[in-house]
Each structure stands twice: as structure tokens, then as C-alpha cells.
């Protein structure tokens, strides 16, 4: 193996690219963190919800005739239409998320954690393979809503898509944070994740709150899916697999159960990956897992998480 010569400018440029990548990790990671918070379940199917998010944004564009046939000329898509795509995708993903919870996870709420984890893997497989049948296993190409333009920012290049990603992700994350901290349903969520039994006794609608958690997590993942599709328009049914695992790593890194932790973990992971990617893109895929193992060894509660103690 040989190392490429890399300048420090290149590294900083990559780090900046990593921020937009990390913003998407963060959007997906909050779904893992919230579900783990209320159910102590690693929702393996969450990566697939992100994948569906991208597809569900693709289809409105296709139905509206904005996707050319093969070899056909690319029609210009009006910018407002992205709003239609995102809204459709968010609604569809929220429905899917709640459906998964209702059909697959709720029957297992009192079962062993192992059974729940395996079910989650099963749901993930089902969505992957179901999508392969529904959408076909050949890649679909997401329409371009904006022409790629680069802005010079000091000595760095930033593309308009990157800026869009960062801004949308930041708005979504802040919105989520406010929702969880300031609203009544958000308070119910925190109560359920603190202690489900007590929350129920205090009159919190636990089932409804859990369904809401899945819906919101799925909406965030769908936003992540649409944002990624704007940057890398190639959609495949398997795109959620690795992305989901990495976002989960981001959640663990930040401290599972913590929403600001998910944001922080996502950013760190995105930057670390991009910087390593300066040398080797294949090794970049290993970064997440190395981080994962290090975090679990050194501080399993993550950067912003809390530790628990077993009662003897």
C-alpha cells in the first residue's frame, strides 16, 4: 500500500465536506437514539426507512413527469417541487415507521431483547428485499433540482447542495430539539424514555408516544434520504444498509439516548470519514467501525450519554 501526498488544504476541504455528510448521519442517528431511548431497541430497520425516504421523494417527481425515459432529455424541475417531494416522503416514511412499530415491535415489547433485535434485523431484510421487488434492483436517478454551483469561501469550495444540506439539517435538528424540550408530546417522550411504567401511571399515553417517536425518527430519516439524493442521486434498495449502520455508530458515539449527542456524533463521524477518505475511500468505510469499537471500549455511554448501574 502506498500513501498519496496530501496537503493540509485538501484535508481541511475534506473536513468541510465531512460536515455535510455528518449532518445527514446526524439526521438518521436521532431516529436510532430516540427509539433506543424509549424501547432499548436497536431499530435495525431505520437505515431502510432512510432508503425509502429517498425513493418516496423520487416517485412524485416521476409521476409528475420530471424523470426522463432512458436516453431522453432531462427536463428542468422547478425548485418548488422539491417541497412536494419532501412532504410526500416525510408523510410516507412516518406512516412506514409507525407501521413497523405497530406490526413488528409492539407484539414483542415484553419479549427478550434478543428476540426484538432479531426481529429488527428481519424487518430490515424485509424492507430491503421488498424494495428490490417493488422498485427493481437497478439504480434509480434522482432528478437535479439545482445546478451544481460552487462558492469560494476563503480557501475552500462549498457547493450549493452542501449548503442546502447543512441548512436544512440544522433547521430540522433544532426543530426536533425544541419539540422534545418544549412541547407536551415531547415531554411525554422524555418521560417514557426515563421510566415507561411510571410514565404510564402518570397518565402518559405510552403506546401513542412510542408511535410518535417512530414517526418523528422516520421523518428525520426521510429528510436525510432526500438530502443525500440531492447530492448523490443514485438510489438503490441497498443504500440504507451501510448508511444505517454508520448512523447507529454516530448515535453510540454521541451517547445513545441523547439527541444533541446524535448531532455531535454524526458530525465527528462525517468529518473523520472524509478526512481518512483523502487517502483511501475503502478504508474510510472502516473508520465508523473502528470508532465504534473504541467508544465501546473506552466510554460505552458515549460522549454525552449517561451511565447506568445494575442493581444487585
Amino acid at each position: 500500500m502506498f500513501l498519496l501526498e496530501v496537503t493540509s488544504e485538501q484535508i481541511f476541504q475534506q473536513a468541510l465536506n465531512g460536515v455535510s455528510k455528518g449532518a445527514v448521519y446526524a439526521l438518521i442517528a436521532v431516529g436510532y437514539t430516540m427509539v433506543y431511548g424509549v424501547l432499548q431497541l436497536i431499530n435495525f430497520a431505520h437505515g431502510e426507512v432512510y432508503m425509502l425516504g429517498a425513493y418516496f421523494a423520487y416517485y412524485p417527481a416521476k409521476w409528475a413527469g420530471y424523470i426522463p425515459d432512458e436516453g431522453g432529455e432531462k427536463p428542468k424541475v422547478p425548485l418548488y417541487f422539491i417541497g412536494v417531494c419532501i412532504l410526500f416522503s416525510m408523510a410516507a416514511c412516518a406512516a412506514i415507521g409507525m407501521l413497523i412499530e405497530r406490526l413488528a415491535y409492539r407484539p414483542l415489547r415484553n419479549a427478550s431483547r434478543l428476540a426484538a433485535l432479531i426481529t429488527a434485523i428481519g424487518v430490515s431484510l424485509l424492507l430491503q428485499n421488498g424494495s428490490q421487488i417493488m422498485f427493481g434492483s437497478d439504480p434509480k436517478y434522482f432528478p437535479r433540482f439545482m445546478d451544481r454551483e460552487s462558492v469560494q469561501l476563503g480557501m475552500f469550495d462549498v457547493s450549493n447542495t452542501q449548503v442546502t444540506i447543512m441548512v436544512v439539517a440544522a433547521v430540522a435538528m433544532i426543530g426536533l430539539h425544541l419539540f422534545v424540550q418544549k412541547t407536551k408530546p415531547g415531554m411525554a417522550m422524555r418521560a417514557v424514555s426515563f421510566d415507561m411504567r411510571t410514565a404510564r401511571l402518570m397518565g402518559v399515553n405510552v403506546d401513542g408516544t412510542i408511535a410518535l417517536t417512530f414517526a418523528i425518527g422516520s421523518i428525520m430519516a426521510s429528510i436525510g434520504g432526500v438530502l443525500i439524493a440531492m447530492d448523490q442521486p443514485r438510489l438503490t434498495p441497498l443504500m440504507g444498509l451501510l448508511m444505517g449502520l454508520k448512523a447507529f455508530v454516530a448515535a453510540v458515539l454521541g451517547g445513545i439516548g441523547s439527541i444533541p449527542g446524535a448531532a455531535l456524533g454524526g458530525l465527528i463521524l462525517g468529518i473523520a470519514e472524509s478526512v481518512v477518505g483523502t487517502w483511501s475511500t475503502t478504508y474510510a468505510d472502516a473508520v465508523a467501525f473502528v470508532i465504534l469499537i473504541l467508544v465501546l471500549l473506552v466510554k460505552p455511554s458515549g460522549l454525552l450519554g449517561k451511565t447506568g448501574r445494575e442493581k444487585v
Partner: protein
């Protein structure tokens, strides 16, 4: 020991007979599936020691398998690769070419995987449940990515031209009467199953189960839980490595893509289907889940619905977890005692167990 040795010899003879019979009378494709069943059994039975007996949830079995596959193939295969220093393709001839060399290569693969098992076992000192699952998953992925970047063994394309070995009994050339892959695979199946059964029914097996059932109580009883957990990983990894080596030489090619985390999931599902903690269950699970996809492949072609087989597979998995999470066998073993209990009229109730003076060596296998 004499008893197990005798069992082993008889079993090996049966393997040899089965090998010759299959090669003679059964079509090649079916033999291939049977061989794959053998590899799956080794994987499932060895993972059962980690996940089933010891209760550690490993999702990294594909990683151990990959190490075994690549290390053994490294010894037996001519390696062609691009040397960037001299800027030309070079070929290193295989290091071993005899049947004994092959066995040595398999063992080396197992040992390499076992060493990795120690490395993975150490984090288990701290991690439990799904955190351990996700850490072992990470380990498996790291192994795969490292191999993908290792040009000498073919990088992402993998290694091809992995040889097959045979023991010629008589004759020459195509008509020779020879023991081949089937014999090697099922010999290791027998060894793995026999040793695992003997492990399970020993003070160490009970210690492993004690760790699973209640780690704190096990510690207080003086069972070195940390050492037991590492042992379970080493044992499971060794046989996963052997299975990997057999797999590579069966398919005659290895690629990193064969060892994704889906492969680990597949083995876990075998255990869960059969009943986590039951070796009988592991074996049945391995057979069903290796044969079923092959059978569904035909259905898929006839119905012209590519991918439906995996949909069925995942649906079965979800329904299984919802309606029978303990699997087919639960934690029971299929044994003579269980069979006897099923026969009406000869019921053995739970409290009629033999007293210590009685010789219980007979229940060993």
C-alpha cells in the same frame, strides 16, 4: 476417551462411505448443497457455543469465517498479484500442495481465527447484549474491509483458483475412487459436533451456561466468567475459521463479499430457528436454512419473482420471533432420554434421575 475415539472412527468411516456414495450416484449440484449444509452446521454449532451456551450475542461470525477462509487459501493457492515496486504481475506458487498440507492450512486458518477470537473476547469483559452485538458486527466489517484492501489476496475481487484436494483410494484420473470435499467437510462436522457435545456436558459447559444464566451468581460461585467468555469466543472462532477454510476450498474462490454482516446474521438466524442454546437446534436450523433458499430458488424462477425468496425468509424470521421466539427445540437437546420420554408408557418423570453411584457415562453422546 476410548468411547469418543470409537465414535469418531465409526463416524469418519460413515463420512467416507457417504462421500463415495454421493460422488457415485447423486448429481453434482445436490452434492454441492449437501456440502454447504456441512459448512453451515459447523458455523451454527460453533456460534451456539458463544451465543447459545454462554449467552454472548456475537454478530461477527462471518469475520472469523473470513479469516479462516483467507488464511487457509493463502497457503494452498497460487497468488497472482500486481507488484507496484516492479510494476508487473507476479505469481507466488502455493505453499502447500498435499492433502496433509491442506489439513495444516485449515488448522492454521482456525488458529488465526481463534487468535482474533481472543481479540474480540476481550471487549466482552465490558459489553453486554446489543452493545456486544454491535461491537462484534463492527469487528466483522473491519475484517472484511481490511481484506478488501489487501491486494496480495486479490482485494475486492478476491482469490480464485483455490484448489480442491482429494485422497485417492484406487484408480487414476477421472475414474479414480477418491475421498474429496464431502469427506473433509463432514469429518470436521463430526469433530465439531462431538467436541461441542462433550464440552456442553462437562464442568466447563455448565460454567458457560452459568455465565449465560446469571453472570453475577457465576462469579460469586468462583467461576472465572471473563476467562469463560474468552474461551467461548476462541472455541467458536476456531471452528468458524475451519468452516471458512472448507468453504473456500469447496467453492474454489473467496471474495470479501461472501463475508458481509448478512452472513453473520444468517448463522444467528439458524440458531434462533433451531432454538438458541440447543445444539440439536443449531444443526436442524443449519440444514433447513441452507436447503430452503435453494428450494425457493426454483420457486422464484417459476413464479418469475426474483427476490421473493429473501422476502419469505425475512417474513418467516419476524413471525418466528413474534410467535415462537424460543425456536423449534427451545434449549432442549434431542437425546435418547428425550425420545424415551416421548414414547408413551415409559415416562420418566423429572425426579427419577439416576443416583451418583450409577454409571452415567453412557449418556455422553
Amino acid at each position: 476417551m476410548r468411547r469418543s475415539l470409537a465414535t469418531l472412527l465409526v463416524a469418519l468411516a460413515i463420512c467416507a462411505g457417504m462421500n463415495l456414495f454421493l460422488a457415485q450416484f447423486i448429481e453434482e449440484y445436490v452434492v454441492q448443497v449437501i456440502n454447504m449444509v456441512g459448512v453451515s452446521i459447523i458455523l451454527a454449532v460453533s456460534l451456539n457455543v458463544i451465543n447459545g451456551l454462554t449467552g454472548q450475542f456475537s454478530l461477527g461470525h462471518a469475520g472469523f469465517m473470513a479469516i479462516g477462509a483467507y488464511v487457509s487459501a493463502f497457503f494452498t493457492t497460487d497468488l497472482s498479484y500486481f507488484n507496484p515496486d516492479t510494476a508487473e504481475y507476479v505469481t507466488d506458487p502455493a505453499l502447500v500442495s498435499s492433502v496433509w498440507g491442506y489439513l495444516g492450512a485449515l488448522i492454521a486458518g482456525g488458529v488465526a481465527a481463534a487468535v482474533a477470537g481472543v481479540l474480540v473476547g476481550i471487549p466482552t469483559l465490558r459489553l453486554k447484549g446489543d452493545y456486544l452485538a454491535i461491537a462484534t458486527l463492527g469487528f466483522g466489517e473491519i475484517v472484511r474491509i481490511l481484506i478488501t484492501n489487501f491486494e496480495k489476496v486479490g482485494g475486492a475481487n478476491g482469490l480464485s483458483g483455490v484448489p480442491q484436494f482429494q485422497i485417492v483410494l484406487s484408480g487414476e484420473g477421472k475414474d479414480a475412487l477418491a475421498l474429496d470435499g464431502t469427506f473433509f467437510i463432514f469429518s470436521f462436522v463430526i469433530i465439531c459436533v462431538l467436541l461441542s457435545a462433550q464440552l456442553q456436558r462437562s464442568t466447563f459447559g455448565r460454567a458457560l451456561i452459568a455465565v449465560r444464566e446469571n453472570e453475577l451468581a457465576a462469579e460469586v460461585m468462583g467461576i472465572p466468567t471473563v476467562r469463560m467468555k474468552i474461551f467461548a469466543f476462541v472455541y467458536g472462532a476456531f471452528f468458524a475459521g475451519i468452516a471458512g477454510g472448507l468453504f473456500a476450498h469447496l467453492l474454489q474462490t473467496v471474495t470479501p463479499a461472501s463475508f458481509t454482516f448478512m452472513k453473520s446474521v444468517e448463522v444467528v438466524v439458524m440458531l434462533v430457528l433451531g432454538g438458541l442454546g440447543s445444539m440439536t437446534g443449531a444443526i436442524v436450523g443449519a440444514i433447513v436454512l441452507t436447503v430452503l433458499p435453494e428450494a425457493l430458488r426454483d420457486v422464484e424462477q417459476e413464479a418469475d419473482l426474483p427476490g421473493i425468496r429473501m422476502v419469505v425468509y425475512s417474513l418467516v424470521l419476524i413471525l418466528l420471533m413474534i410467535f415462537r421466539p424460543q425456536g423449534i427445540f427451545g434449549q432442549r437437546e434431542l437425546s435418547l432420554r428425550l425420545l424415551r420420554r416421548l414414547v408413551p408408557g415409559r415416562r420418566i418423570s423429572g425426579d427419577e434421575t439416576p443416583k451418583p453411584s450409577e454409571d452415567r457415562k453412557g449418556t455422553e453422546l
